[in-house]
Symmetry: C2
Subunit: 280 residues, 2 copies
């Protein structure tokens, strides 16, 4: 990991450059990408105005390249379009290491969900570490990693795994529909059980359902960045509303507040008389 003020993977750019090797349509987009990247990296702080400037650059890049990406066969499988928003979060949050003076993991990652022991037989149970770590892919994670080692006492048999513990996990969707929301709600339950202090956001551009029933879910917030229905996209001469900078500023401030606070204090029952005392 590096605590330089820049993204860790450039998830969109790396995909685009790879696919552009075999596509002149995509090669034509590379200068637009390079400009977006350079301009985003040049924004030096994270004031509301600076975040709004990042969003202006995002809207301009998306407006320019998405008609080309969407026209490609198998565009949904290529995931070039959704990776734009993922890379945007890499830019948005690339100053956190400096702000918190920590080396953070800030990229698409698989977060820890569950550990289960599944030996094949009694002999396996006694003689080797037989376990499975379940993970969930997130489109963007702010967190850290740990190395887990499992050893049979008194034996040489051991196994190592890297575990990613998210402090923030963000799912990016072009549009939010019911079955995606149900899947994200299920993920939220698992994330909150395994890593209870992980802030879990779903960020979509368009809405493709009627209501979100927040009481049914442990998702912390669902953002619909264009405040627009997905069905409008099929209209003739459709022009999307721009991604709303105020919502992106809200995401940034929520994350900043979450990362700044004490998540729990084991002494709080004696100092405040409230054993949980979790800020909400």
């Amino acid at each position: 990991m590096s605590n330089k003020l820049e993204p860790q993977t450039y998830v969109h750019g790396s995909k685009l450059y790879r696919k552009a090797e075999k596509s002149s349509d995509l090669r034509a987009l590379l200068p637009l990408y390079d400009n977006w990247r350079a301009a985003s990296l040049a924004i030096a702080g994270r004031s509301d105005e600076e975040i709004a400037a990042l969003v202006t650059l995002l809207n301009a890049y998306k407006d320019a390249v998405e008609p080309v990406l969407d026209a490609r066969p198998n565009s949904a499988q290529e995931v070039l379009q959704p990776s734009i928003l993922e890379e945007f979060f890499e830019y948005l949050f690339c100053h956190l290491d400096a702000e918190f003076e920590l080396e953070l993991l800030r990229r698409p990652e698989s977060g820890f969900i569950d550990l289960a022991f599944n030996p094949r037989s009694l002999h396996d149970l006694v003689s080797c570490p037989a376990y499975t770590i379940r993970r969930k892919d997130h489109d963007f994670v702010i967190g850290s990693s740990l190395e887990l080692t499992m050893t049979v006492p008194g034996a040489d048999q051991s196994q190592n795994d890297i575990i990613v513990v998210p402090a923030v996990a963000i799912e990016c969707k072009r549009y939010l529909e019911r079955n995606m929301l149900d899947e994200c709600s299920g993920t939220a339950d698992k994330v909150k059980k395994a890593t209870p202090y992980c802030l879990y956001f779903v960020v979509a551009e368009f809405l493709k359902m009627d209501d979100a029933a927040p009481e049914m879910s442990r998702i912390d917030e669902i953002y619909v960045l264009r405040k627009q229905r997905n069905s409008e996209r099929s209209a003739l001469n459709f022009t999307p509303k721009p991604i709303d900078a105020a919502l992106v500023i809200d995401i940034y401030r929520q994350v900043q507040r979450h990362l700044s606070r004490v998540w729990w204090n084991p002494q709080s029952a004696l100092t405040t008389g409230k054993a949980f005392n979790v800020p909400r």
Copy 2:
């Protein structure tokens, strides 16, 4: 651990000897205990007849000492009575190591249930292994243990824990009532999630409810060893039915069968065409 043909903790005897230091009533029971222990250890095999002989010794010991134990103030808190059945399982299963040629853990233990990451703050998340292992006390466990080490990559900070993975877990109750069953059902869900190949039995002497609704629970079996209602115990001149040797033989054979078989075979989808192919 030792693979000698004997219990690992003598959970009842160690409690009884400790409490007897301050009680002449209990001191009078020590010869009875010593006889039960010596006679149980002297039974050399685990044929149906030999298991029935162990049960005869158990019934005789319980009949002799329980009137004294039950008459003591705070007898419920002392847990001398329930520890008799726990120690009985130590005798019953003390030949398994020899049978399977493995060193097994066979004693009351806390089994692994869950791992969660709960750093107090972003600083803690990045700088130390901040996690909690949740465990559940079981009255008797057959299993093994693993050592878990969690390290911050690139740092000296690490933490070690011993994790007990049960292949069999048995809860012992004098009588089974609804809220105990609900608790055991909740435990069964957690046990089966964390250690899916653990056989989970609830063993009671008396029944204090009307029905057990097996479809609501992942408990593998509930045994009522005396096949008798708890309410009968309040009758004048109550004499309990003896613990049924046939049920204890059934417990032993079920455990033996479970420990002998292959619990899962990752290749079974290709060898049998059934990906799960779990014996039921």
